[in-house]
Amino acid sequence: MASPDPHNTPETEAERRAGRLWARTAVMVVVGFVAVFGVLGFVIIPVAQGAQAGIDPWSAICRAVGVSPGSPAMRQPVSDTPAQPVSNVAWTPAILNTLSGADRATGQRLAQEVCSACHGESGVSPSPNFPHLAGQSAAAIYKQLHDYRSGARFNEQMTPVAEALSEQELAAIAAYYAEASDDLRLGTRNPLPDERLQRLVSEGDPSRGIPACNACHARGAGGPIETPMINGQHAAYLEAQLTAYANGGRRNDIYQRMRTISAALTEQERRELAAYYQGTR
């Protein structure tokens, strides 16, 4: 109680001056530190590294700062390869918007006028020569139609049909078929029970680098957006497609996803998987 509270003693002039000196020194040290290491990191080191790698000082600085790509210590590889896309479909927001806002009524009209002759009423095809379309995802239908139209996928019957349609019409038909029928909806039917195939379908085969088919082909699985629904599809059609992927007859799958997988399957597996996915009525 007797000793005075140290926090309440009035500051002397000398103490105040010492305090200011400290503050100034501290600020100078921090600023100096940032300046020295800024110059070291963004100028001296990159320029020195660039000199070793044959990169001019200005580019080296730009790379170190992050405004141009590459490392100041390594020459950046260049490529002037022309683009050779296997499909011209790019899932940009614009296309996704077109799909989600497509006019189903127009789609239905076109489908009945043009497509139903082959693909059946409401996209449920009675003949195994023509794939079902009902319940197929809109993105899958759009991608395939676009590929027929651009020549990325060829079929004597389908190519002229797709070529006659506009971008908007493709989207409208795709949106219509995605919801066309309650009778059969691709992706909802039960596949045939088969334990051995079940493994391939739900676990894949790591020794051959085959991912599980259902990692992509099940509804909502989360693979590529254009992955078609295949369960419920005609077995003959599925087998024909798998064979075409395997022998290079069909090559519009972006990044060879299906070509690689199908080439790793045996002919028998392709046939069995096709029957499996067609399922039972």
Partner: protein, 234 residues
Amino acid sequence: MSGPEGEEKVVKSELRWALAAGAVVFIIFAAVLWAAITMRMNPPSNIEHADPATLHMQGEFTESNLGTTVEPDGRVTVRMVATQFAFVPNCLMVPQGREVTFRFVSPDVIHGILITGTNVNTMIVPGYVAQVHTVFRQSGDMLMPCHEFCGLGHSEMIARVQVVPADQFRPGPDGRAHCEGQTPLVNTAAPGVPAGDVDAGAQAQGPLVSGEPSPDPAQATQDAVAAAQPATGE
């Protein structure tokens, strides 16, 4: 502790510790500087955009340009797409003891790679090019799994890296090199695993490498994360 002598002592001791801490900071900075100049080590700085939606329509990552390319100046560049649920291409051939630059992109979700037995390790974030410079110190077959969960097929997402001695590395006239037994681009019907391939079923036993194991099979620098890279040329 009271009185001016006590306070002076405290100030002195504070100064001593400040000096010690300052010295540690400077030693670390000196080491960073040393590594930067002599080992070409860098902080993250590669910011290179690649639109994921149109990746397959861009020249550099067009299908036929993927894989190993020897550029006219002799440098080896590997371009690869990591996509749900495969690497394209799924096997790479690279030379031992030469500088190799990997360029990875993803059109869909975040993937990651590591090459077993080396310190090549990076994330592949859609929208950006992930670039790694490395020198493989030992030859053999290495596995390159995806190490970032990317969906249901993630566990089958494995590529192989065949590191061959420099004198056995013979790119074609177009500068492209492919794995033994791998057909570039279009796979013609080839059921099963071609002869001489790694049995990927053995992956649980770790990397399949030939020759003497070295503690430092490869040193990678990554434009995205700093790592060591001794300056070795051919």
